[in-house]
Symmetry: C2
Subunit: 397 residues, 2 copies
């Protein structure tokens, strides 16, 4: 029941019907593999002959492959289908404050080759490092690589391909999409890291998340980012500014300054930097500046009291912001991503406690879950920018 947007709508052509059904069949193969033609026909109520024609086309395109026969249920045994596993199809570039990760993956999102290197303070040098790495992977897999996805820790306009403002690198209005596309000859998609990770959760997360049509991802890192999924797509709001919840005011006198310079933003209370600052303060005797957040989590998991206290206080503030979002969106799920999710057993209680406070008279409360995307969520996010576009619906209304 969506209002048709006449400015963007595409009328249906004769091939539209085939395109729609092709995407549906492709998604059945992706989500229910291994699956037979006959079962897809039963589920979609399309004719078996129609499914066969579509599967033939998907096989020729290299998206789907047959993997032998399944069990008989009283008749001829079905031919089982799955996504084609071999061959890298996407390159993902995760630009993070200190380190940059570039990798190739197959259709299912499994990483095939991966490379990691530190960023350079100089904008041009960092960009050149990225371009060289992408070019290397692309040349090694001529023909099979179709596109590049790039995730950035900052404000991004995916429509124009410009990085509007990336605090850590002090990038302003950098046309990074065009730069990489021109240098590699490949199509490039860029997005904010939180949006990318939200997309990765939507397509490659645990079932509770991928089954949800509406959820919110909180990405805790140097800052705090949010990615909002509504009706199975990233919600951007006007000028892509939705998701800038990191700058919600949740108090005063935060332990560190926000990336925007203020001391009252949610990010200044809940980021990895905030947790580290709390730990430094608790320890009094000076901890070295080189202490990373990963090390802090390790110490907390080793039951070091100060480390645990710093994390729990950070989780408390994280919870305050989450409760604001839950009241607003009534999402099915809230996913917390970033290094902090490794410490889930320690912080879970502090998180849910704060959120319970905001549960009001019978309104459903969302489930709070840690991310399951592993050590490099923003890499999977950047890959998702490419992979999701192959499976998503780009049709109608």
């Amino acid at each position: 029941m969506r209002r048709i947007d006449l400015k963007n709508v595409q009328a249906a052509r004769l091939n539209t019907i085939r395109y729609i059904n092709r995407q549906i069949v492709l998604n059945y193969v992706r989500e229910r593999e291994p699956i037979s033609r006959a079962e897809i026909a039963r589920e979609t109520a399309l004719q078996r002959s129609t499914i066969s024609t579509i599967v033939d086309a998907l096989k020729i395109e290299g998206l789907v492959e047959e993997i032998g026969e399944g069990e008989s249920t009283g008749g001829r045994r079905p031919t089982m289908l799955r996504l084609r596993m071999a061959g890298p199809v996407a390159i993902g570039v995760a630009i993070r404050p200190t380190r940059i990760v570039v990798a190739t993956s197959n259709l299912a999102g499994s990483v095939i080759e991966q490379e990691e290197f530190p960023s350079d303070p100089d904008q041009e040098k960092t960009l050149q490092l990225v371009i060289e790495s992408v070019r290397k992977f692309s040349e090694r897999n001529r023909a099979s690589i179709e596109a590049v996805g790039v995730s950035l820790p900052g404000l991004v306009d995916p429509a124009t391909g410009h990085a509007i403002y990336v605090p850590h690198f002090k990038w302003r209005d950098l046309p990074i999409e065009q730069r990489i596309a021109a240098a590699t000859g490949l199509p490039v998609t860029i997005d904010n890291d939180a949006n990318s990770v939200a997309l990765a959760e939507l397509w490659f997360g645990r079932p509770e998340v991928t089954d949800a049509r509406d959820f919110i991802l909180i990405l805790v890192g140097q800052g705090v980012g949010t990615g909002i999924i509504i009706d199975g797509q990233v919600y951007r709001g006007e000028r892509g500014a939705a998701g800038e919840f990191g700058h919600m005011i949740v108090g005063a006198e935060a332990p560190v300054a926000c990336s925007c310079g203020n001391y009252d933003c949610w990010e200044a209370f809940s980021s990895e930097r905030a947790a580290l600052a709390r730990y430094q303060k608790l320890c009094e005797q000076q901890e070295p500046e080189t202490l990373t957040f990963a090390m802090l989590v390790d110490r907390a998991l080793d039951s070091e009291e100060n480390a645990k206290a710093a994390l729990i206080e950070t989780a408390h503030y994280l919870g305050i912001g989450i409760s604001n979002l839950v009241v607003g969106f009534s999402p099915e799920v809230v996913v917390v991503g970033g290094e902090i999710s490794r410490a889930w057993p320690l912080i879970e209680e502090a998180l849910s406690e704060t959120i319970e406070r905001s549960v009001r008279r019978g309104l459903p409360s969302a489930r709070i879950l840690p991310s399951t995307l592993g050590a490099n969520p923003s890499l999977l996010g950047s890959l998702s920018l490419v992979l999701a576009s192959k499976f998503a619906a780009a049709f109608a209304a």
Copy 2:
């Protein structure tokens, strides 16, 4: 770029293509009337022959009519089309705390006949009054009336057709959709009043609003309701609980109790009841209990100082809640509806002042506009429940 929901998706059939194009053509006629077949063909890039076939079908269905010829642009003069104006097609029922309005309208949402009567404290009697009124209109327009829309001031589950909880009437889990449908033999759609009014703004509001894909409607009445439009559709969240922003905590010691009994909800600070309580307090000498909010607005417009002060303080709290929502959703527009919008010149400053406070570093701020739906927004809302379903896209992904 939406993820396909395999549990709800409908595969495309041969007639899907026709249905999609039919809805597109219908919406061109609605939004751009008067318009010719040839112009629709140019805009959609469909063949003139295709448009002609579709328009013929729409004429036979009684949705579209010809209204003579337009101006020549150097060749044969075009035949202009518009929505069929004659004949009521929808019945709308706006159930409000004190009065109930029932009306018929044509396809364009113009009210044709209208009836208003007070509600009865008894649940069954009120329901019987509504059913009798609907039946009268329906019998008077045999054949042409297609469906009934009902808007309610409370928690509603449009999926099951139950009024979950309507505070003013103390209705709990009332299957009102089935009751009216059974008694009148017509299809019935129900929804929350704020959602219905948001839908009316989306389809029948001023251009700044109907052109927006994302906006928020704030409906100020006995309570404060919110309707959220995202990507041209009502966002409901899990179990339809999105839009219950009225229960956001924005302070303590509100002038009146919220419908939920608490004194810290946004609704308790910003509703018509809150404004009346403020006025009573300012006047000290007892104002009669029968003073309505409409009278308060009239007095304020007559420059009575106490009335103005009560409204401005109410607007101040209204603004606090709105700024929370703006930060979260980054909508293009926020529309304020209800009696209070009549006092716009008085409250505009108080509203925008509060909202400016929350505008952070370059993030776009939404435009705040009064509703233009007239004296009975929830009536137009209930009619929209029927009319929108005729024009909306119910296809694909």
